[in-house]
Amino acid sequence: MRPGAAAAALLVAACGSGAGEGRCSPPGSLDPTRPPARLSALCLVRPRPGAVDPMPGVVPYDLNTPLFSDYAQKTRFAWVPPGASATWDARAAIDLPAGSFVVKTFAFAPDMRDPSAGRRLVETRVLYHAADGWRGWPYVWDDAETDAAFSPGGEVRSISLVTPAGKSVTAAYLVPSMGQCQRCHADAPGEGLHLLGSTARNLNRDFAFADGAENQIARWSRLGLLAGAPAPAAAPRLAAWDDPATGTPAERARALLEVNCAFCHGAGGLARSTGLFLGTEVTDPYALGLCKTPVAAGPGSGGLSYDVVPGDPDRSILVHRMAATEPGSAMPQIGRSLVHEEGLALVREWVAGLTPAGCP
């Protein structure tokens, strides 16, 4: 078979519904081996220049602390089939029921200090809960921003922008390939995908819905999307990394590390073989990297001896790798080509504030 022929065959078969204006609703079930060629067929998002709005029944949400993606602006939606609901989980990501979709749309403005001016849609990542597990599908927006095309191979795109701090930079922005979805969303290598952002603690915040502000857990419960949840005040809450009112610098840094690192540096993550674990539940100092020697960092160590040297960010590999941009040294390994300067400053503050232990 010619290269690409298989992909083309899939695309043709998947077309046929949804494009164009009018009433539609997300498919309750879908052949997971045949992702639609056009995003519009899923009837989840309605594009307007530089932004997407949720279709009726699709719920927008936000997170206390998000993954950093080269300063992209992200819009998150969830859709749960009518009559179905997710089951409360205080610790792991809340798993939406079969038939659900989670979609995240990435957009950039030329100057992120004024992100609504001249903003462009780049990609929308779709997670679909098929009967046999979650699938990840990348879609890349057309130049006209009226629809997005299924793009399983991903791409690296050069995007110039001014950061929120006023620095002019050019990102080698990665639209991940379908295989790369699994790098972060896999339970264990070779297994299916799972959701990452939808932990109770990360969802536990207010959102400015069209009909007014409401706590997301309360709203999901009220709409019947979520069953068994306690009142938001009784639910765990992750610090918002950039809001000092929500936690100490240490709490906010740990929140940032959890969201940006623990999908790999967690018990089931791809980087579990390093023995470095960065979830907020980790209390063992060695597992958290304190005076821990790297295993297979290679040049990523930056010539430093320990993952975290308490009190000394300049000697900590963790800080070095957050500040690195070369693929192979930069962490996370994919999804970031720019330095998250503000997040880096927060992690530096956390490391500097750790009681010096004097690693040997």
Partner: protein, 410 residues
């Protein structure tokens, strides 16, 4: 011909493996094969691999294929093959994204007869896979200054039933062929040169390393166990019939990496593993030491409870040693110590050395059961600082351990 010399002959035969291959990129493929020919774009290759059905073979014809992003293989049963390690080259010089050239996480992954050049990080990393075959693969970096090269060339980790054979790795800032935290491993008939470490077996349970030509690295073959990892307690490792020659390249490992502790001129080093056989190897011209058996304690780094830092039951038997230990690398702590010992001894460093750091719970002359065969010269460094000077007496160390079972791949 001695068995040790056979090792050299076997390594010399490696070059012959390149002949007799088909120019059909789908040659030998069982099941669906998607062929790519020179000129195929990254976009079409990435899309096809991303959509791969289990069991698909991707065959690349002769030519160079350039990539800006790493290739993530997640389906099971995928084979990626070329028509030769030098004829089909995946070129990552312009890589902008991804920590390795190829990353594979599906079971039954095969990579064969293909070259991988100038990756930003590791060449090929296979993680959490059962049944891994890397055959006839070349991984190398072309930069004049190797300090910016990736850490690992061929890098299966946390996997089971791993075969790396007839492959070549050069230029890695950590290790050319590195198998970590895996079970049931065979590394045979490969060539590793110009890396910091040639071949490393780390935290593995059951590994056979044989018939390899390991030369011109900083250290030749390392059998290490490190603390704080999901799989530790490395054991049942057999290193036999390898040619380990002149691994004297000054280290270009980034500081902080464990491999940076390895002195230039190390032939074979065993750290903190138990049940290891070093047998029938030709170990020649390594300037610091031919075979070193050491404890993690020697590195002076912290380790968590539950980790056993001492090597035990290490059999060093019937190797051919010559020209080793003549000029220990004084730029490393261990090498400097050995240089001092050498000047006291007035002879090159003996064939096999043990650091002398024993588990405090054990007693006796040879509490860790480090064994050599007669004719092997020996050095006990007596490092613990008990005031006992280094000793070249082999009394108590000439002994025999039961043979370890061979690794059997399914």
């Amino acid at each position: 011909m001695s068995r040790a010399l056979l090792a050299i002959a076997a390594a010399g035969a490696l070059a012959a493996c390149a002949s007799g291959r088909s120019s059909d990129p789908c040659a030998g493929a069982a099941g669906t094969c998607v062929a790519f020919h020179s000129g195929a774009t990254e976009a079409e290759i990435q899309a096809a691999v991303a959509l791969a059905a289990p069991g698909t073979t991707f065959g690349f014809g002769a030519g160079t294929y350039r990539f800006a992003n790493s290739i993530a293989v997640t389906a099971s049963g995928v084979t990626i093959q070329g028509v030769g390690g030098s004829e089909t080259v995946l070129d990552f010089e312009g890589q902008a994204a991804g920590g390795e050239g190829i990353s594979a996480t599906g079971d039954d992954f095969t990579l064969r007869n293909i070259g991988i050049r100038d990756t930003a990080g590791d060449g090929v990393k296979v993680e959490g896979s059962t049944n891994v075959k890397i055959q006839g693969v070349r991984v190398w970096w072309t930069a004049a200054d190797p300090h910016g090269n990736g850490g690992y060339g061929i890098y299966p980790v946390a996997s089971a039933n791993v075969l790396v054979e007839g492959s070549f790795a050069s230029g890695a800032t950590d290790t050319g062929i590195y198998v970590g935290q895996s079970q049931n491993v065979v590394v045979r008939d490969n060539e590793a040169t110009g890396n910091v470490a040639g071949i490393e077996i780390e935290n593995c349970w059951g590994a056979d390393v044989h018939g390899n030509s390991v030369h011109g690295n900083t250290g030749g073959i390392l059998v290490f166990d490190l603390p704080g990892l999901p799989q530790q307690g490395g054991h049942a490792v057999r290193v036999f019939q390898n040619a380990v020659d002149r691994n004297n390249t000054p280290s270009f490992a980034p500081a902080g990496n464990i491999v940076g502790s390895v002195p230039a001129g190390t032939g074979i080093a065993v750290m903190a593993n138990h049940d290891v056989e070093i047998r029938d190897n030709a170990v020649t011209g390594n300037q610091t030491a031919a075979v070193a058996v050491i404890s993690f304690v020697l590195l002076g780094r912290p380790y968590p409870a539950g980790y056993v830092p001492y090597p035990s039951r290490v059999m060093i038997a019937d190797n051919a040693f010559s020209g080793n230990g003549s000029s220990p690398d004084v730029t490393s702590d261990l090498g400097a110590l050995l240089a001092a010992v050498k000047s006291i001894l007035g002879t090159p460093i003996p064939d096999a050395l043990w650091d002398g750091i024993a588990d405090p719970a054990k007693a006796g002359t040879n509490p860790q059961q480090i064994c050599i065969t007669p004719g092997t010269s020996f050095l006990n460094l007596n490092v613990p600082g008990s005031g006992v000077p280094p000793s070249t007496s082999s009394a108590g160390f000439v002994c025999t351990l039961p043979l370890l079972p061979p690794v059997v791949l399914p």
